[in-house]
Symmetry: C2
Subunit: 598 residues, 2 copies
């Protein structure tokens, strides 16, 4: 099906919006009137610009407060509409959106509404135009899609149809099944938007909090299925009002938007994409750094051994159990402070995984970083992290480890056996995008989003995981641009005995994040812990949590650049990440930073 | 009355919060449990820190999910409470807040709730503590203040009272008059918060959108009057959860908080402050600049004459009609780009106005900038703008103009007769604070807040005015830190003939902001304007608006540094500021900036 996006969904000038929509591969746009008014381009120039970019203008929107008004008012409305039809002719647009009236002049009279809309359609027809009438969720007398349809049916004019908008329908709690009773050819347009499930005034919800399908809580796919059963064959168009998108760069938002439509089309069976290949584990995490020494000291104290070195590049492999950390001191490392640059994900079918990510618009990275390297399938995530699809030690497939030359052997009794999870800080404009990417592109499952109180602002955090928990990624974002030395990325290492692991780390010269004594006084009040157990946690700065499934114990290392490590002991099916303890950990990190001046 | 603030209302570490509260002059604090848990200070150290700062600890909060639960669960709750009473003893706090239960274990049984709260109070009494029971608006079975009070009354224990919270009471729409039926000595605590009137889930409203009294839409003063009639003599305490305050520096937030309490106390007659002295006009606007030339050219083209020069400093007075602009090239100007640094407001009683601002915690500036200067009363507004209270040409009072030496005469037929309004960009953390300041400190009236769509994000704008409109200040803030070369401050100059003024400006070499032709095509559709009128507006970039009271025509100059000018013709009582046109103006400014690369 053809895809379209409303210019109001993107940030910037009209020219920037059109360019971003075209680059992301949309077939057409809805032109929002205010975007046109504010543009220095004439309608003819906008038409030509769209043509050059390969975009059709699928809708001009909106006309407001047209119908069910006294005759003298309606005469004025018709004159106004005539001006707009003239404009649309110059623009080369043939369909206009008319929203159900919110005017105090409007009366509750379907017969009058139908008669006036018929007159409008008559005028539209003279210009070769069509009118798509839509029920706003907060329309004065017409607020549901079936009511709008009854009026269109009564008006009975070939140039008058209805426009369906998933936001207005689902926000009102209307049953979308009734859509199937509409004749598809009378559905002139379909606008799609999702939204988080908020209990708030529907107008505010609509104007500030819409998001792309799959980013919110609406069953947009279910609605689309009903629409398709009518025989509708117009474009699928995204109309999203969102405070964050208004500020974000148009290019990435448009890519995100089109990805959401591709996934939506796949889910209703009208597009076929390479199937998701769910990762089955974490092969490695790659850190870049201008100075390997602090990281080497930290990894050594954690019990990692430098087991191998890349044959062609300054990259060391540090290993312990199945946990593998690459330390890269090449050119990328010198560009920035120490940070997490790449993830290797074990994949049952690396090439298939890469095909899906490419089909879903993720930038594909060169398969070989150097001519002699083993070819590896890799893409960039929305936050810029490189994702490698790996087949570690599987003889039938290229093995990234063959690029490495062995050095020392890892410890036989490791403290740490694998990477439990990775916490990735997201650019604040792209949090919903990141969750959609990891879910739809990688096939991971997104968990509930939680708010975490940092002393200097609220953070939002949302985990994406595979079914057996062998891949867990916690996506975190601040309420606004924040200090990234505290809101750093981190790597959580799984251990069977966090007490032993913490002690060995400390004895080897590592610095554990100190946790306030008050936290432990509170633990006693909340849980049945023995004095000895508590004393140990207090001594080592180990945090404690419990859910319905099990117990979680964890502690933190100091931070190097933008990265720190966590040691976690996840017992008996505990599912979370210690979110209850996060405010204490964040305050402790702020305090540690204040002390070191780091 | 004593004033107090909950630590959760302020940003930062516990130490930062306590310091900010003390510096702002609060008598005490409520310690929020999570702030204590996250603090490296022991309870004894926190007690001592508060004592050193002159702060009492008026409340420890909260205990949750205590009452109306099965006996084994309640036994656990009592053990938990005992730990907290031990902690409070170390802290030197004697009152604990207990919130009505939200636990799924809680049953709807007032008799059980009363019996268990009585047992809790019995335990509290052994420690010399008191329990203040509060109805959360979303409590499972107890969600209104009168219900909470009936349970407290039934429990009938001297160590058990109730806590009233204006948010929970007013958000539920309860009638606060019933508070007067409570005995004052059983109201153990009073928490005050305001909130904007939002139709949203009450829990989310409470956790993210509370604000200080006078910043929202609640009648907090009305509620307080009812409480005072009970004989309540405990502290007035602010408990505010707000996403913005969480990120803002604690110091200014605490000052803002205490100012709101002072105004609240004044409004219910328990504090007496110097009366507001409402300004009666704008005496001058002062611009600082590192280079006077571009400003001089702009002012000259607008028809201003350089009428006087300061006797001791590099400050020129530019005048036209009653519009006066000071251009300061002194040290302040060299610190930054060209910008608006100060406002002179005509005041019937400059000294009285300064006394009120000082009583309401605005920083008072030195009365003389130099020894030979006329003494002038001046304070700093929250955004740092200096406010001078002036008595221009009033013989009985010091006249700032006597510091100036006359140069040329102003034009006899001025284009501009006075300053219509000033638009001041506010730091985004302090928008509500700025409105409260201008209203309560200066005695101006705050108008409705409006959202304005900029191409790169939403702005909020709110005007404050005096009764006859001779002082109008539009406060504007972006959704996040924004580009201040576009979101600049501006000075709007009143003219009786905007067409003549715009033409004279252009003929004198000034650059008018070009407005897109599409805007004028839309004007024709919206308003009955003659072709000639429209052609003139189109030629000059004049924008047009109409409200129920009259017509508004306006156009804009180019921007110098962070300042531009607007020419406005406000006919027949039009009350607004052309907000409908603001998106077009903002887009045009972005476009102009893209062209000049400025």
């Amino acid at each position: 099906m053809r895809t379209s996006i409303a210019t109001v969904s993107l940030s910037g000038s009209l020219t920037e919006k059109l360019t971003a929509a075209a680059r992301a591969g949309f077939d057409g746009v809805e032109i929002f009137e205010n975007d046109l008014l504010a543009s220095p381009l004439t309608p003819e120039e906008i038409r030509d610009r769209c043509a050059d970019l390969g975009l059709s203008i699928d809708l001009y929107q909106p006309m407001r407060d047209i119908e069910a008004v006294p005759e003298d008012e309606f005469a004025r409305n018709l004159r106004r509409a005539e001006r707009k039809f003239q404009l649309m002719r110059r623009l080369g647009a043939d369909t206009v959106l008319v929203c159900s009236s919110v005017s105090p002049l409007a009366v509750d009279d379907d017969v009058l509404a139908a008669r006036q809309l018929r007159q409008l359609a008559e005028l539209a027809q003279e210009f070769g135009m069509r009118v798509a009438y839509e029920a706003l969720a907060w329309g004065r007398h017409v607020s549901t899609y079936d009511h709008a349809w009854r009026i269109v049916e009564r008006a009975d004019h070939p140039a008058l149809g209805t426009c369906l908008d998933s936001f207005h329908i689902l926000a009102r709690g209307s049953d979308p099944k009734g859509i199937e009773d509409l004749p598809g050819e009378k559905i002139f347009f379909l606008q799609l938007a999702d939204a988080p499930l908020l209990a708030m005034d529907v107008l505010q919800w609509s104007r500030h909090h819409r998001c792309f399908p799959g980013q919110g809580g609406f069953d947009v796919a279910g609605l689309l299925r009903h629409v398709l059963r009518t025989g509708y064959d117009g474009p699928l168009s995204l109309e999203v009002f969102n405070d964050v998108f208004r500020q974000a760069e148009a290019g990435p938002t448009a890519v995100d938007a089109r990805r959401s439509l591709l996934v939506l089309q796949e889910s209703v069976g009208v597009a076929s994409l390479p199937a998701p290949v769910v990762p089955t584990g974490v092969a490695f995490a790659e850190l870049v750094t201008p100075d390997a020494e602090p990281l080497a000291a930290l990894l050594g104290a954690l019990g990692f051994a430098r087991t191998a070195r890349h044959r062609g590049k300054p990259v060391d492999l540090w290993q312990q159990g199945e946990a593998r950390i690459l330390v890269n001191t090449g050119p990328a490392g010198r560009r920035d402070r120490t940070g997490l640059a790449a993830l290797g994900l074990e994949s049952p079918d690396p090439a298939g995984a890469a095909r899906r990510t490419e089909a879903l618009l993720a930038p594909v990275l060169p398969r070989r970083r150097a001519p002699q390297d083993v070819p590896l399938d890799a893409v960039a995530a929305p936050d810029g992290t490189e994702l490698f699809f790996c087949a570690t030690n599987r003889p039938e497939l290229p093995n990234w480890l063959t690029d490495f030359e062995d050095l020392e052997h890892p410890a036989e009794a490791p403290n740490v056996h694998r990477i439990d999870h990775l916490a990735l800080t997201q650019p604040w404009h792209h949090f919903d995008e990141a969750a959609l990417f990891h879910r739809s592109v990688l096939g991971l499952e997104a968990q509930q989003s939680v708010d975490v109180a940092d002393p200097y602002g609220l953070l939002r955090s949302r985990a994406v995981t595979n079914a057996d928990g062998s891949v867990r990624i916690a996506l975190t974002v601040g309420a606004a641009p924040t200090d990234d030395t505290v809101h750093a990325q981190h790597i959580a290492l799984a251990t069977d005995d966090v007490v032993a692991a913490a002690r060995r780390f400390r004895e080897a010269g590592g610095h554990l994040l100190p946790i306030p004594g008050n936290y432990y006084d509170d633990l006693v009040a909340r849980f049945d812990l023995s004095e000895a157990e508590l004393a140990t946690y207090r001594e080592l700065g180990i945090l404690y949590d419990q859910d319905a499934h099990g117990v979680f114990r964890h502690c933190y290392t100091h931070t190097v650049g933008r990265v720190f490590f966590e040691l976690v002991q996840r017992d008996a099916g505990y599912r979370g990440y210690g979110a209850h303890n996060a405010p204490v950990r964040l305050a402790a990190q702020h305090a540690a930073k204040a002390v070191t001046g780091g």
